[in-house]
């Protein structure tokens, strides 16, 4: 479809041109300048290079008929029938996007003994829930689940399919995308629908420092995965709408070379480095009770407790919970610093966190220099009320 063409006659300073490419995809072999396999088609060389040296040539390809593909579909993410909440968030987004192009909203649900659960989805404003209910689908195994998706896509030709960015979604979506030789964009943070039915997919790239807008111009269906808590789930309607359609696959399609031998509860000990949400008890939290309060708030938010050095030195807290230059470095999505002074020792271990909230009575406290939301107040006034409200 497209390639970078180099006009060798215009090449004057090849060593400099080589440096144009951030991916080392331009090579100079002492005679010719060439593009190698590292090229990502970012076209920086075209934009930044001297005029005419690099050009991007688009080849015409036969366009597919996009009107044959209708419907915005959501894959029901579940383990053993427990529907992951990301599914409803995706349904909300699918409804919004489908409305723009007057497509139906489909849901695909594969599992064992799931009919009642499928009916529940009809409270969320979808048009049709396709159910594949079979004992062979009790556990997520890749071959039968891929076969289900293949059967569904062949029969219904949806334009877009959304998967939750869970371990299941991130295993199944690429497998199905490859089967249909189509595009899949992982971990989208923004989705929108063009009139052309092309899905506008925006995702972080290069470790989150850059956003990339990606689309799938000439393949269908188009696939995207989205993490939990990116979109809002719609409210549950009193009434049901739409319908449940039960589908079947022949037994030979449900075979697998994988056998599930045991399902266990996850018991790995989480460390504060891995925690996405952290509540830090600082020097102002002097007692075991205060520490317990911070811990309970952390747990209610689904996160972990951490501490500053004074609490470790006072012997109240485990050194493995200590954040700082001489302790552990953390980069959670949310960090609430309760009664933390914010000395450099501490700040150096957490200042890369996405959202920093600090509570301290001293408005001069250094922690407020890094906090996004600074709460001037007493931790013992704010925290107990917070715990109460989170518990309710």
């Amino acid at each position: 479809m497209a390639r970078i063409v180099i006009n060798q006659k215009l090449v004057t300073k090849p060593e400099e041109l080589v440096r144009l490419c951030p991916f080392n995809a331009i090579e100079w072999d002492n005679e010719y300048l060439q593009i190698n396999a590292a090229c990502k088609m970012c076209k920086l060389c075209v934009k930044k290079g001297p005029a005419g040296v690099f050009t991007c040539e688009e080849e015409k390809v036969e366009a597919i008929d996009k009107s044959l593909w209708r419907g915005v579909c959501v894959y029901v993410d579940h383990v053993d029938g427990d529907i992951h909440p990301v599914t409803f968030e995706l349904i909300g987004k699918a409804r919004e996007m489908a409305a723009k192009i007057s497509h139906p909203v489909y849901v695909i649900f594969a599992g064992s003994d799931i009919l009642t659960k499928a009916a529940e989805i009809l409270h969320y404003g979808v048009d049709e829930v396709f159910v594949y209910d079979d004992p062979e689908l009790k556990h997520f195994r890749i071959e039968p689940y891929t076969a289900v998706m293949e059967d569904f896509i062949h029969n219904n030709k949806p334009s877009t399919i959304l998967f939750g960015g869970t371990n299941v979604g991130r295993s199944l979506a690429p497998r199905v995308a490859a089967r249909f030789r189509t595009g899949l964009t992982a971990d989208c943070t923004i989705l929108d629908m063009d009139e052309s039915t092309d899905l506008a997919q925006i995702r972080p790239a290069f470790g989150g420092n850059i956003m990339a807008h990606i689309y799938t111009p000439n393949s269908r269906p188009q696939f995207a995965t989205v993490r939990y808590k990116i979109f809002d789930a719609p409210a549950r309607n009193q009434e049901q709408s739409g319908k449940v359609t039960v589908c079947h696959l022949p037994a030979d399609k449900l075979q697998s070379r994988i056998k599930v031998k045991d399902v266990k509860k996850k018991e790995t000990v989480q460390t504060i480095e891995d925690a996405e949400i952290i509540v830090v008890a600082g020097g102002a939290v002097k007692s075991q009770e205060g520490l317990a309060l911070c811990r309970s708030i952390a747990e209610k938010l689904g996160g972990m407790l951490a501490v500053t050095r004074p609490l470790v030195e006072a012997g109240i807290a485990d050194p493995r919970l200590q954040i700082g230059l001489s302790g552990r470095t953390v980069k959670p999505r949310l960090i609430i610093c309760a009664g933390v002074a914010g000395y450099i020792q501490f700040v150096a271990g957490m200042d890369k966190s996405d959202t920093i909230i600090a509570i301290n009575t001293d408005e001069q406290a250094q922690i407020f220099n890094v906090a996004h939301y600074g709460i001037i107040g007493d931790v013992y006034e704010v925290l107990p009320k917070l715990a109460e409200q989170l518990g309710a």
Partner: protein, 262 residues
């Protein structure tokens, strides 16, 4: 037993920024390294080799200088290597990359077990493993957190399902992608560096592949396009709140809800 590990060369640092005015990528230095997630894959393979005497092959798709990371894998205990390189692979997205690697692996030999890292630090998609398995028509398990047993015919492992862990047995040939915590990758050994100094690494290009249809490789074989790249809006909020304990708590709860933490 034959094990194959797919690895990738990535930029030495992930600190990439976009020039706010020109929208152009700024990248300092040009050093590169083995994708950190792949180190866990190589370690998993070498551990199995130590137990069973398996032979470990490492492969990568990339420019000729990507053979550096194959040499590094030798220094960690890999036995053989292969590089898939061709200018025609340029501009490949996940699909074209997976297809290229699948074609390359068919050329080298389909092993009993293929191991991939969970994801790469530059692409971050975690998709190549499952797509590769599809193109090779073999089963896969992603998010493997532990290898429990390796037998002649199958591998027993733990798969992370979010809230639970499943113990599954998978027959060969098959593919797994391993999680970061599965082991502690060893450092490259100088002794192995000396021992493998003269090891040859075969290069395979499109002409060596069974499917020579150029439309399936590189940018031509890529269904997705990057329309543009831009800097994300940083969280530039700096707010200070004062008030009574009740007011502050109410504000905090509201903010936590807004940010979807509560």
């Amino acid at each position: 037993m034959e094990i194959l590990v797919c690895i990738k060369q990535v930029p030495g640092t992930s600190e990439v920024e976009v020039d706010k005015e020109t929208g152009v990528l700024k990248r300092e230095g040009i050093d590169s390294k083995m994708n950190p997630y792949d180190l866990y894959g190589v370690e998993t393979a070498v551990k199995i080799k130590e137990q069973t005497g398996a032979r470990v092959t490492v492969t990568t798709m990339g420019p000729p200088q990507a053979s550096e990371i194959l040499q590094e894998a030798f220094m960690m205990g890999a036995d053989e290597a292969a590089l898939f390189t061709d200018r025609k692979f340029a501009g490949a997205d996940v699909l074209a990359t997976s297809y290229t690697i699948a074609q390359g692996i068919k050329k080298v030999n389909i092993p009993d077990l293929i191991i991939c890292g969970k994801q790469t630090t530059d692409g971050d998609t975690a998709q190549v493993g499952p797509e590769l398995a599809e193109f090779l028509s073999i089963p896969h398990v992603a998010n493997v957190t532990e290898i429990i047993e390796v037998t002649d015919k199958s591998i027993v492992l733990e798969m992370d399902m979010g809230h639970s862990v499943e113990v599954v047995e998978m027959l060969y040939p098959c593919l797994i992608t391993v999680e970061k915590g599965i082991n502690v990758p060893r450092l490259p050994s100088f002794k192995l560096k000396l021992a493998t100094k003269n090891k040859k690494i075969p290069f395979y290009s499109l002409n060596d592949f069974e499917d020579k249809d150029e439309k399936k490789y590189g940018l031509n074989g890529s269904p997705t396009r990057v329309l543009r790249i831009f800097s994300p809006e940083a969280n530039a909020d700096r707010e200070t709140w004062t008030g009574s304990g009740e007011e502050l708590t109410a504000k905090l709860v509201k903010k936590l809800k807004e940010l979807k933490f509560a």
